[in-house]
């Protein structure tokens, strides 16, 4: 089932598969998994010039936005 999260970020899900992935992503550990996959993509495409943010920035931003 975790494959759904990987497929989601590639735009390879629709319908029930998409709904299932979104439901899984309500769990923080799966959300962190998706964020790690995006970090990997970012590094693979840009290498050392990927310009990393502070490690805790992403989680902090999500908290700010949840409270809007």
């Amino acid at each position: 089932m975790q494959e759904h999260i990987s497929a989601l970020m590639d735009g390879e899900l629709s319908g029930a598969g998409l709904d299932l992935a979104l439901e899984m992503l309500r769990q923080p550990e799966h959300f962190a998994r998706l964020d790690a996959y995006h970090q990997i993509r970012h590094v693979l495409r840009a290498g050392e010039s990927a310009a990393a943010m502070r490690p805790d920035f992403s989680a902090g931003l999500q908290t700010v936005l949840r409270n809007l």
Partner: protein, 198 residues
């Protein structure tokens, strides 16, 4: 790229309907690209993070007005450029004339100049460690996983295209990409400060 726009459209529609998780996914997807863009403009890591946060707050509040005439990321990048410009002006600075900002270039990671000049020693170290961990993990992958992930992330091929190139079912492509990402994620989680239980 068409599929990327389609999934963005789906997430935007869900976010407009009040599903905050959908907006959170868009944030996760674009935050690093926006940070890179903002850093290039304001040339200060902390200020660039503020710009990214401001951009997403503005985007979230303006989401009901987003009609989807342009791609979501194009709309988002315009908000980010304006937020960065405002940040500069509030500090009595101006947009660098040599920045040559181009939304498409930023999106495709073609713009790489000068970023190292504005990074702090800490972020430079993190960039280096992340790149080394990802590259090392990639090299340690079985050949078929490494090639499949490369075709997806570097060449940008769809699962269907990869299946055709590698002469295997789409389900195999999907599985290989997931396994490759998991193997690499395992290596970088200590650097990201996140733990994921399998």
């Amino acid at each position: 790229m068409v599929k990327e726009r389609e999934i963005d459209r789906e997430l935007v529609q869900r976010a407009q309907a009040g599903e905050k998780l959908a907006f959170g996914l868009l944030v996760t997807k674009y935050q690093r690209k926006l940070y890179r863009l903002a850093l290039r403009i304001v040339a200060d890591p902390a200020e660039a993070e503020d710009v990214v946060q401001e951009t997403f707050i503005k985007a979230y509040r303006a989401l009901p007005q987003f009609r989807g005439d342009a791609a979501f990321y194009t709309w988002l990048y315009r908000i980010a450029i304006n937020a960065a410009r405002s940040s500069l002006e509030s500090r009595g600075r101006r947009l660098p004339t040599q920045s040559g900002l181009n939304i498409n270039e930023s999106e495709t990671f073609e713009v790489r100049s000068h970023l190292n000049d504005v990074d702090t020693p800490e972020t430079l170290l993190l960039n280096k460690q992340l790149a080394e961990a990802v590259n090392s993990a990639m090299e340690g992958l079985p050949a078929e996983l490494r090639l499949t992930l490369s075709l997806r992330e570097i060449e940008g091929l769809s699962y269907a295209d990869i299946a055709e190139v590698m002469v295997c079912p789409i389900g195999t492509v999907r599985s290989r990409i997931f396994r490759a990402r998991e193997a690499i994620a395992e290596r970088i989680r200590p650097l990201l400060g996140t733990g994921v239980e399998n």
